[in-house]
Amino acid sequence: MARMKFLCDADRCIECNACVTACKNEHEVPWGINRRRVVTINDGKPGERSVSMACMHCTDAPCAAVCPVNCFYTTADGVVLHSKDLCIGCGYCFYACPFGAPQYPKVGNFGSRGKMDKCTFCAGGPEADGSREEYEKYGANRLAEGKLPLCAEMCSTKSLLAGDGEIIAQIYKERVMKRGYGSGAWGWKTAYRETIES
């Protein structure tokens, strides 16, 4: 089975936010919830870089480890998903997540943050694949249809790569070799405990 991963080639990302828009549209993500975002580092200075970031679907995921009600599970593809029926909205996964992925319907805790929402790698949730309930709670399930996450599919510069970790790592390695430089696979070391040598 493939081990699904995301990779953002920061040397290509132009902060066009198409990935964010694609995600918003595909899953009907409401205002205020940002499953994917683009962060620009050293904005306006020489050497600035933009990185598109969502849930990285970590190996040995920290969110899953700290969740007090154990509502996360990892699919056979290595995608980290959770059950909104079990989540109690405590906010702990946000503190543990290295990438700020978990989102909440309400800003204050006040005992009622609502159910956590995050990127599903376009793989839905525990409900039946492609069902209405699944869509309403977790968004579209493109993986079940044999498609990859829409954010990466829509990326105009093909900076954002999504898919089998080994294949996208290979694509990135070849790019770096051809053009002679690369600022690295952002977040890989933290998320997957490995990085791409090039």
């Binding site: 962060v39 990185v51 007090p68 009600v69 543990a96 290295p98 204050g108 690295g184």
Partner: protein, 333 residues
């Protein structure tokens, strides 16, 4: 012809010159490594252990791109905290059981006199029990967050555990308010009797009323009770401040502040729970006659004399206590 030759030579020379310049430009461009000045992930992480940037969405928290510190926090919460909590709480229970088995209930040496003295007014008892019941609910619902997943979830299953945890969380969050009011009232109500003084030193040296075997003099609160008072005031204050920081996330601090708040909250909470187990023990099965103080509010005069001799004298001087005979068949004092 000579002029033509000169013209050609000049043109060729100029072209060659231009070529050299033109050639040098792409050549230079090839030498520039576009990543040479670019930000580098590992370097940024080494500087701050965090990578932060600008985002174009209003949720500014999302500007934190990476915070590997979440991994350390996870280690604390899942491993360190469970060890600290398990050792202090189970350790305390073990100490109390051993203590009870060896020492038993500390009896009233002179028996009950049948006459009482007012120790705590109805309002004081109201505040005490309000704080105490809130504390017990907060402790159980808090420990559920820490230990529920390994201990309770396998027994009751996912759905039932989530349902219970949801309600426990509501109870924890909302009962924190009466609890905080209670701690504030305790602080104001009993501060006068809880300033440490010289009598406490002697009381501690003699092992107080529960460890030692005599009855060192004490005012209204002895050194042990003063310690409990300050644990409640300081510990209660600390869990309240950090608890509200957790309850109103990101109002006061960023992600690192939230992690710190959880660490302080949970460590103080488990120590607090261990201390309160000791307090509950002494107030109930540890010492005869002690429960009355918070039960009816009236304690037996002999109990008061054994444990709070100086306080009884004060009360007698104020006319708040029977000044005359006691159970001891001694004449006037």
């Amino acid at each position: 012809m000579a002029s033509l030759g000169r013209f050609i030579r000049l043109t060729v020379g100029a072209c060659a010159f231009l070529l050299v310049i033109a050639a040098s430009v792409p050549c230079k461009a090839q030498q520039v490594n576009p990543t040479a000045s670019s930000v580098n992930e590992q370097q940024l992480l080494q500087e701050l252990n965090r990578i932060q940037g600008r985002v174009s969405i209003p949720d500014q928290r999302s500007g934190v791109l990476e915070q590997p510190a979440g991994r350390d926090w996870r280690e604390f919460r899942n491993v360190t905290l469970r060890w600290i909590g398990g050792i202090t709480i189970i350790g305390m229970i073990a100490v109390l059981v051993i203590f009870y088995l060896t020492r038993g209930m500390v009896r009233l040496e002179s028996g009950r006199s049948g006459r009482t003295i007012v120790r705590f007014s109805a309002f004081e008892r109201f505040v005490h029990w309000m704080t105490a019941t809130c504390f017990i609910v907060l402790a159980i619902s808090g420990l559920n967050i820490t230990f529920g997943r390994p201990l309770l979830l396998p027994l009751v299953g996912f759905e039932a555990f989530s349902e219970w945890s949801q309600w426990a969380k509501y109870a924890h969050n909302y009962l924190s308010f009466p609890f905080t009011i209670g701690v504030a009232l305790i602080f104001l109500m009993w501060i006068a009797g809880n300033i440490p003084n010289k009598v406490d030193v002697d009381w501690l040296k003699r092992g107080g009323g529960i460890v030692g075997h005599d009855h060192p003099p004490a005012y209204r609160f002895n050194a042990g009770q003063k310690a409990i008072y300050w644990i409640v005031v300081i510990g209660g204050g600390a869990v309240a401040v950090t608890g509200y920081e957790l309850m109103f996330p990101f109002y006061l601090s960023g992600i690192e502040g939230m992690q710190l708040a959880q660490i302080v909250h949970s460590v103080v909470a488990v120590l607090f729970i261990a201390a309160m187990l000791g307090h509950i023990y002494i107030g109930t099965i540890g010492m005869e006659g002690a429960f009355d103080a918070m039960g009816t509010g009236d304690v037996d005069l002999n109990w008061a004399k054994e444990h709070h001799s100086l306080w009884v004298e004060e009360e007698q001087a104020k006319g708040h206590a029977p000044s005359g005979g006691t159970s001891r068949p001694v004449a006037a004092e």
